[in-house]
Symmetry: C2
Subunit: 310 residues, 2 copies
């Protein structure tokens, strides 16, 4: 494990999977790992601006790598890229997978080094949530449905930790992945409502060759579940094709997706929603500001994906 | 009325009331009044640091003047003092006095000019709470009792607007009055929990000669109510004397205050609480980290005051 103040050099990792995304040429780098909030503040007050933050829960994959690359490009060669790695307890429900969420910190550090990260902020739970912690940020509209309905309190935890990270790191921009479409929308609304001086940049989902969206939770899938999991993407593409072919009824698009996902015998649908892509409120007619989002269980593993209609 | 971008010179106001507080010698000053959030951001990015913020709802009196003077002294002669004047709708309950809250903006501007303010941030309600506003900051422990119990949602509104002001103004320090003791404690907790990079400075309550704490709401009192209102302070002093004399039972101290306030025939007690001065949770025994706080109605006007036992 790397501790606060340690440095480790870039091993110049080759990507494990044949996925392409723009990657700047990088020299061998040193990554500073900081665990303490006050040390992070001190260090980040002294670094070159702009600071660009990529908040993560670790277990980094090539989807995160795309976020880090975008952050590097936004920060420019002289700016500072900060990746936070923190499995945030307040966004997990009591029956969710907080304790078994993967924490491969050494591999995460190598991926960060290979993708232009200058600082890894890696606090402990008790530093982020000291005794008597009692203040939360909560968005109530964009969070209300989809994952917000399935996971009560999840977005309150997300908003709170992101707000805290913004205050500690003071970034000019922060990069999030569109796989968590609702998370992007909720954070965008929080940033507007609370006047946070941070630009939110959303990056397209990175996928396996068979269409499965990369996720730290994919590693929990059994071989057979993994074989069936691309049905999420296939169903969303089928719905978009139907929409392009003139089908605008949300009910019929939803039915089409439910039927298609039903072809995977191990899949159990949590939700399928056709919603406005800003407010995430349900629509009766799919238009060109529409997102279709779904969550599907394979065993205990819950996968999400989405597609925008444009 | 002053509009965004207007300037007005200091009239070098003499204080209206014979109350003394430390006041730095001030040259004739220009105060910049800004209503737009983006203009405020632009301007404040260009000014000298440190920035010290005094959040107010206007209707400024010599209690606010003491906050402004403290802010001036914290900012130093070269720093920037920002006073926000905004009657924040989200901290008023539906049956409270939002619409009749006084808004004497011209007089407020003169007082700011006389007390070293560089910028008055004076946004409209629709700028601070645009359509679809749906994100709040909420503290749940320190806010739970006293005014929080009497005014549901009040501290959620306070936390949200203060958080927004901190994001817009980006001050190094912010100054609050101890008359609103619970507000100071709630904001202190929020700042800790959300890692806000702002130092909170609390300033002692300024009082009339008869002990009544200055408040923008005192002007609503009838002559007879005004005559009886100093009973709040008298009762708190009596309780502190009893404590100094060895009485530590919270129940008995509370009874003493209730009896004493009862001597004012127009007074109607909202609450009297003996509480820990950090968590504001009720105590059975008053110790040396104790605050006694009360709220008393005179007619429709609700007055608060408090005293710490040390």
């Amino acid at each position: 494990m790397f501790r606060c103040g340690n440095y480790f050099p870039s091993p110049n990792l080759a990507p494990r999977r044949p996925i392409s995304y723009p990657r700047p040429p990088l020299p061998e780098r040193l990554v500073k790992v900081i665990g303490s909030i006050s040390a992070a503040r001190r260090h980040l007050r002294s670094v070159n601006r702009p600071i660009v933050l990529v908040p993560t829960m670790g277990a980094l994959h090539q989807g995160h790598a795309a976020l880090l690359d975008r952050a590097r490009s936004l920060a420019g060669p002289q700016g500072t890229v900060v990746a936070s790695i923190f499995v945030n307890p307040t966004q997990f429900g009591p029956k969710e997978d907080f304790s078994r969420y993967p924490r491969p910190f050494a591999a995460d550090g190598r991926l960060c080094a290979a993708h232009g990260v200058d600082v890894i902020f890696h606090p402990t739970g008790s530093r982020m949530y000291p005794d008597g912690f009692s203040t939360f940020a909560e968005e109530s509209v964009v969070s209300s449905r989809l994952c917000g309905a399935s996971r009560p309190g999840h977005f309150r935890g997300v908003c709170t930790v992101v707000l805290k990270l913004f205050q500690i790191v003071q970034p000019q921009a922060a990069v999030f992945g569109l796989k968590d479409f609702q998370q992007c929308a909720v954070i965008g609304r929080m940033v507007r409502d609370l006047n946070l001086p941070v630009r939110i940049v959303a990056v397209e989902t990175v996928r396996e060759l068979d269409g499965l969206a990369l996720s730290s939770r994919n590693q929990f899938l059994t071989a057979e579940e993994r074989r069936q999991a691309p049905i999420l993407r296939a169903a969303l593409l089928a719905a978009r094709d139907a929409w392009k072919g003139g089908e605008s009824s949300a009910a019929r698009l939803r039915r089409l997706i439910v039927q298609r996902v039903g072809r995977a015998p191990l899949a159990r649908i949590d939700y399928v929603e056709i919603a406005d892509d800003h407010t995430l409120q349900p629509l009766r007619q799919a238009g060109d500001q529409t997102v279709i989002a779904l969550a599907v269980f394979f065993g205990k593993t819950r996968l999400i994906d989405n597609i925008r209609l444009r």
